[in-house]
Structure formats: structure tokens, C-alpha cells
């Protein structure tokens, strides 16, 4: 989006949804230490590191593109 417009940039919305998904997936991944799924390579705990990745990326997008008061 151009910077002269007050519209919230699309990156903010992307950041919010990635952040929410990251939290849900990380929480699920932590739960899976007690109750692992029957997927291949579950021992690598992909939900944990993928959740962390989503939280970091989503958090960055939200922080950088947080709407500022005019």
C-alpha cells in the first residue's frame, strides 16, 4: 500500500493471522510431548518449531506494520 493512505496495510492482517496460528500450533506441539501424533517424523516435533516460526514472523509483521495514530 502507498504510505500516504491511512488504510491498514495488508501485512498487518497477515501478521495477526500468522501470530494467532503460531500460538495455536505451538500450544498443540507442546501438548504433543505427552500425546504424540502417529505421523512420520513426529519425534522431530514439527508443530513446535513451526509454531515458533509463525509467531516470530507474525509478530514481526504486526510490530512493523502496527497502525499508528495519524
Amino acid at each position: 500500500m502507498s504510505e500516504g493512505h491511512h488504510i491498514i496495510p495488508v501485512w498487518f492482517f497477515v501478521g495477526v493471522i500468522l501470530l494467532i496460528y503460531g500460538i495455536l500450533i505451538l500450544a498443540t506441539g507442546i501438548y504433543e510431548f505427552h500425546s504424540p501424533p502417529s505421523t512420520v517424523l513426529a519425534n522431530l516435533h514439527p508443530a513446535v518449531w513451526w509454531g515458533v516460526l509463525l509467531i516470530i514472523l507474525g509478530g514481526l509483521f504486526v510490530y512493523i506494520h502496527m497502525p499508528k495514530k495519524p
Partner: protein, 580 residues
Amino acid sequence: MSLSLSFPLAMWWLAGSNPPGAAQRVILLHPVDLAIIVIYFVTVLGIGFYLKRYTKSGEGFFLAGREMTAWVAGLSFISANLGALELMGWASSAYQYGILAAHWYWIGAIPAILFLGLVMMPFYYISKTHSVPGYLKLRYGESARGLAALMFSFMTVLMAGIDMYAMALLMKVILGWNMHFSIWVSALTVAVYVALGGLFSAIFNEVLQFFLIWFGALLIPILGLIETGGWSGLVARIHQNFPQGDYTHLWRTLGHFADNPMGIHWTGIVFGLGWVISVGYWTTDFLVVQRVIAAKDIRAAKLAPIIGSYFKMAVPFIVILPGLLGLAVLPFKLVPANAVGPGQHGFNEVLPLMLARYCGPGLLGLGITALIAGFMSGMAGNVSAFATVWTYDLYRPFIRKGASDSHYVTMGRTCTILGMLVSIGTAYLAMQFMSIMDYVQALFSIFIAPLFGTVLLGMLWKRVTPAAGFWGLLAGSASSVAMFLLVKFNHSMLAYIALSSHAKDMAENMYRALWSWLICVIVTVVVTAFTKPKPVEELTGLVYGCTELPGEGHLPLWKRPVFWAGVSLALFLLLQWIFW
């Protein structure tokens, strides 16, 4: 998904999918997966409601205010093309044909996208047109515009219906969801957020979809390559499971139609796919061009497709590689969809099977949401395109001229809803008559190659006359219809159209596109010789030689679109060499 190059394969995927009632559910969702899906629906609706305040004018509703940055326009440009049907269809094609399927992402896209950015985008942008039919009106007059607009509006609303049906079928096959529920929930959601936010909504959600598709699908190739021990391990396992076929070479087996399972020749790939089909699609498809026209300035408009080319080049990683991994790691062989017996799975289930193999709760929901997002973005893109073509290229010039801007915005919102209702009808028709999809795909391939000829000549040769533009387009389309029907009613005619008795169905589209493009160009040139051109002063901003194109010499090298296009082309060539 816009009308994409992969449509024929996608239709094959749909036609062969397990019929309702006989389906084995592939995936079981947990509450966290359902939460992820619901959050997606709430988000897209929320974005639509938020953006309504910015779409009160025609420029806002139909063109997203023409203020997209190069990155937003570029990601949306690629997302408009990358739909769930394409993901599913190409993964299953990769399982069947191996890495040959990657041609549709490399030679079938990269040179064409760069051509659009560097050569054609300046004319689309400088002419200030809102659409491809809009450019035809400026260059050739109302007849060419009317013909193109009728075809586009028909195709876009039918495609939205096919997307809807495809999503409902996918949800039925892999999740066991009721098809009516899937059709109506997805249709109503898309209708609401597009009617509210117009092209803004469509673009915003395409950018969202882009991230969801990558994060939803990327784990499959990552974990798959860990499981196989890298690319060499993958190749070794494929050879072990399928010792007869060559699934991992891109060009080596294209010397003869009979040497490869696709039944294609390198001339068809290079000249049919690489030139006519791909350049025709990427430079004239309404959806993808509309996203770039919404860019904030000409440099952003040129850069947007170039940025998109890098991501397009990377798509085989999440689409083709899962299909290859399926060949390597699945403990059972997949079969053609029409031969699926109890306990078996068809080629078309390779992507959901790989998703279920590696992704537990949460990650599975993300993957399914990515597929749903892909389908819904496709529907939204087609419906917003229909609203624009109908309002600006048919209703305004032919039915109600000179009305106020707010009248046309109201028409845009209204025909979004009506277009969606027609699409729902198409979805139900497709449920009853699978062959309708054959005809929708034919419509696309019939039109796009001649349209490319008409637009290209119009942009590069100022002598082409308005009459020649119309008659060339009509002749090219008519010849394509004739070739399609010829092969439909007498399959042996394929040998003549593809110039070889060993050619298979995949070759038909390529050669038919080539011939219809040639016929369009020849007729355009001949009619031009006998008709009167427009005065040069009316061609300013529309044609090479009559348009002052802004230079880039004053910019540092790294800011010039041509530099990044060169890097993209170099990467493309490197990939051809690596996977030769």
C-alpha cells in the same frame, strides 16, 4: 484460481476424483484444526467489512485505488494464479509424470512473466486502462472490446463455479464434509467480502492466501527430504520403487513423443507452452493483469510481475516435490482415479496423503486452510473480475452510458452477488454433468492464444487497424473451436494437429494454441493491408513507437526492473541445467 495453464490437468483431477459416497476419508480433523479454519473465515469477512469504507468510488471498488505497492501487486499476481485446484492437480501430475510437470512453472511461466513486466506492462499502465478488454477498446474500438469482454465475463463466472465445486468435492473426499454445506458457506463468504471490499478485498485475501499456502504446504517437502535423506536419496528411492520410468529429468526425454509418459515433444514445450500458451495467458488473462494494473506507479507495475516470477519459480518446491515424494515414500502405489478399488487411493489424493503423513493436529488445520484459502481466493478473483468486466466493459459502454460513479459501484456490488449465484448454479451443474468442465477448459484455451496475438500486435505495430484487430481475434478463436471439435469427434485428428501419431492429449492444447495464434496473426496482418489504421495521435500511450516510455537510466542498477528480470532469467536457466 484464475483460468490457469494447468486447468486441463486440474479438470482431469476433478473428473477422476472419488465420487461422493464411494470416498474414503483421508484426513480426520481435530478441534484445533477446525478452530484454524473458522479463524480464517472470520478474518476474511472482517477484512471485507473493514475495507468497505475505502471502496465507495469506482476506482476504489474496481481498481483498489490504483495504489498497490510492487510487493502487494506481485504477491497478489502470483496468488491469483496459484489456487488449490492447481496445487492438487499438479501434485498428482508430478506423481504420474515426475518432474516434467515443473515445465508449467518454469518455461511455462518465467519468460512470459518477465515479458509482461518489461514489454507489455508499460502500455497497459500508461493507457490507464482498467482491464484487457479496456485496452482493446482504446486500441481497436468497441467490437474487439465487446467480443473479449463477453468471453471473459462468461469464463470468469463459470470458473468461480468450478472452483466452488472443486472445493466442495475436495472437502467431501478428504474430510467427509457435505457438499452443499461447502458450496454455500464458501460462496456466501466470498460474496460478502467481495461485495463489500471489491478488488481491495480480493487482493488482500490473495496476499493472505499466499502466506497460508506457503506455510501450510512447506512442511511436506521439508520433512519429506529429511525422511528420504535429501534429493539424491529421493531419486534413489523413486528408482527403487519405479525402475522403468524416468521421473527426475526435465528435458532429457523430450526428444520424441514416445520417450516420455506425457507424450510430448520439446518443440511443443518450447513453442506451444513456452511461447504462445504461457505468454498468452500471463499477458492477457484478466485476473493476473488486473492485479498489476492496480499498482501505484509504472515502476511498481513493471516490478510486480518480476517479483512474482521468483515465487513462481519456487512453487515446484511445494507442488511438484510432494508428488515426487509420494513416489518415493508412500508404502502403496496410487492408481488412476477411475481404477480406485477398496483400500486404494487415486493419483489425485497424493497431496492430502502427504499432508496426513507429516502433519499432526494444528499443522493439518493449517494445510487444509491453505487449500480452502486457495479455492476461495480463486472464487473471489473470478467474481471480482466478472464485476469489473460486466460493469466497465459491457454495462457502461453498451447499456447505460454516462451514469454516476456511485451508480456503477452499486452495479459492481450487485453483480458480485448475482455472479456468485450464477456460479453456484454452475457448481451444481458440474455436479450433474462433469463434461461441462471439458467445455469450460476449452473456452479458456480457445480464446487466450488468439487474444495474445491481437494484444501483442496492437502493442508493437502501429499499422494494425481496428478492423484487423477484431477479425484476427475472431478468426483465431474460430479456428481454435474448429480444431477442438475436430479432435473431440475424431481423436485421430490429434496426429495432424500435433504433427505426430505418437502425440497424446497433453500435446493438443500446445499445438492448437500455436496454430490458432498463427492464424490470428496472419489474418490480422492481411486485413490490416486492406483497411484503414487509426491516426497516430490516437495511438499515443497504446503502441510502441507512439508512446514515450519512462527511462530507467537515472536509477541505480539495483532499482531497475530490468536488472531483477535478468537475475530471474538467470535463475530460471540455472534450474533447467540442474534438472536437465
